[in-house]
């Protein structure tokens, strides 16, 4: 098996595993990570929001349909990569190789980064009380934040003081595996292009 096909194969299998196993790609947890008070998990295939272990918001059917469609597309994309990598003798096998793992994981990261940057700023400007109550909300929501959310007690109790609550917003291992599979597919694509260029440059006998 050529190197680029082996790399595509590993990337495709990783992406297939991520799609089938599910799990959040980005999560927000208020409280002890193992027993959070508030948990929000998001991936291209699922959304869940739990307060004290109970689900608080159920996604509308249109969103569930979108998640299912994305999961089906992901499984299809990963399966075609695996098939394309394995069916070396078929002339159309390269048609099956694609960069969906890369586009999906980078697209998701951009979406989450934009949402976590823009939504809290919008919320704080729309509701000034929120900015008073949680002055570091925008920073806390950003992935790889400081790990605490500061609650200003004055608006609640009229007594000076604050609470620093344990707070985590992060990309999960599932996301990093998806991104790794995307990077592998990109490496495979570059290697296959180099191979094609070399073939073209070789003089005909």
């Amino acid at each position: 098996m050529k190197a680029f096909r082996a790399i595509y194969l590993v990337g495709g299998l990783l992406f297939l595993a991520v799609a089938l196993l599910g799990g959040a790609w980005w999560e927000l947890a208020l409280g002890e990570p193992a027993k959070p008070v508030l948990y929000v998990g998001l991936s291209p295939f699922n959304f869940e929001a739990k307060l004290l272990g109970s689900q608080i918001v159920e996604a509308p059917p249109v969103l569930n349909a979108l998640f299912l469609a994305l999961r089906a597309l992901t499984v299809l994309g990963a399966s075609t990569i695996v098939a394309g990598a394995l069916l070396e003798g078929k002339p159309w096998s390269k048609k099956l190789l694609n960069l969906r793992p890369l586009t999906m994981s980078i697209g998701f990261a951009i979406l989450v980064a934009a949402a976590t940057m823009l939504l809290p700023r919008y919320a704080c400007s729309a509701f000034p009380q929120l900015a008073q109550l949680a002055p570091n909300l925008p920073e806390a929501l950003a992935p790889f934040s400081s790990g605490h959310l500061r609650i200003n007690l004055y608006p609640l109790t009229r007594a000076d003081g604050y609470l620093d609550l344990a707070f985590r917003s992060q990309f999960t291992p599932s996301f990093w595996v998806a991104l790794l599979s995307g990077a592998l597919c990109l490496a495979g694509w570059i290697l296959s292009k180099r191979g094609a260029c070399k073939t073209l440059e070789e003089p005909n006998p």
Binding site: G31, E32, K35, E58, P61, V62, A69, L73, K95, D160
Partner: protein, 175 residues
Amino acid sequence: MSTLEGVKLVALFLRIATAAAVIAPFAVYYAASGSLTGFLAPKTEIRMPNLRFGIVSHDVSEGDSGYVLELKLSNSGDVAFGIRELEGEVSLANGGFKGRFSLESPIVLVPGREGSLRVVLLPEQGDTQTLADALSRGEALNVSGRATLVLGEAELPLSFATELKLSEVGKREGF
């Protein structure tokens, strides 16, 4: 079958599979929801837990390992509430007293129950009579430290710093 035909066939298969993967979930969910409104509207079933507790009474007494501040708490909400860890510093705003405190034993109150939160206080400056007099006069306490709250099955580690008047906290219910 020629190579070109094979490639065209594979491309056609992929297009059909992609279209089916997108259309089928939308069709199934739309059919199951029955109407366009039901299909588009989110089912927001926000079941906010009712976290309410009150301080029934407070007392300061001298114990074996220092002074014990006992707060009698009542859980009037519908979620278990407790404190697993607590330690920090307390001082009177006027500077007459300063000490360190820690939780004697963890406490978890199930809804509708009352219980005592016992905090051991080790004075570093001043004595407890000064503290008791100041509390009875409603003077402010500076309290800072860290704690782990238990809310139902969840745990919430936090650090805090506040200026507190116990007489006002006793009247103030809620979380």
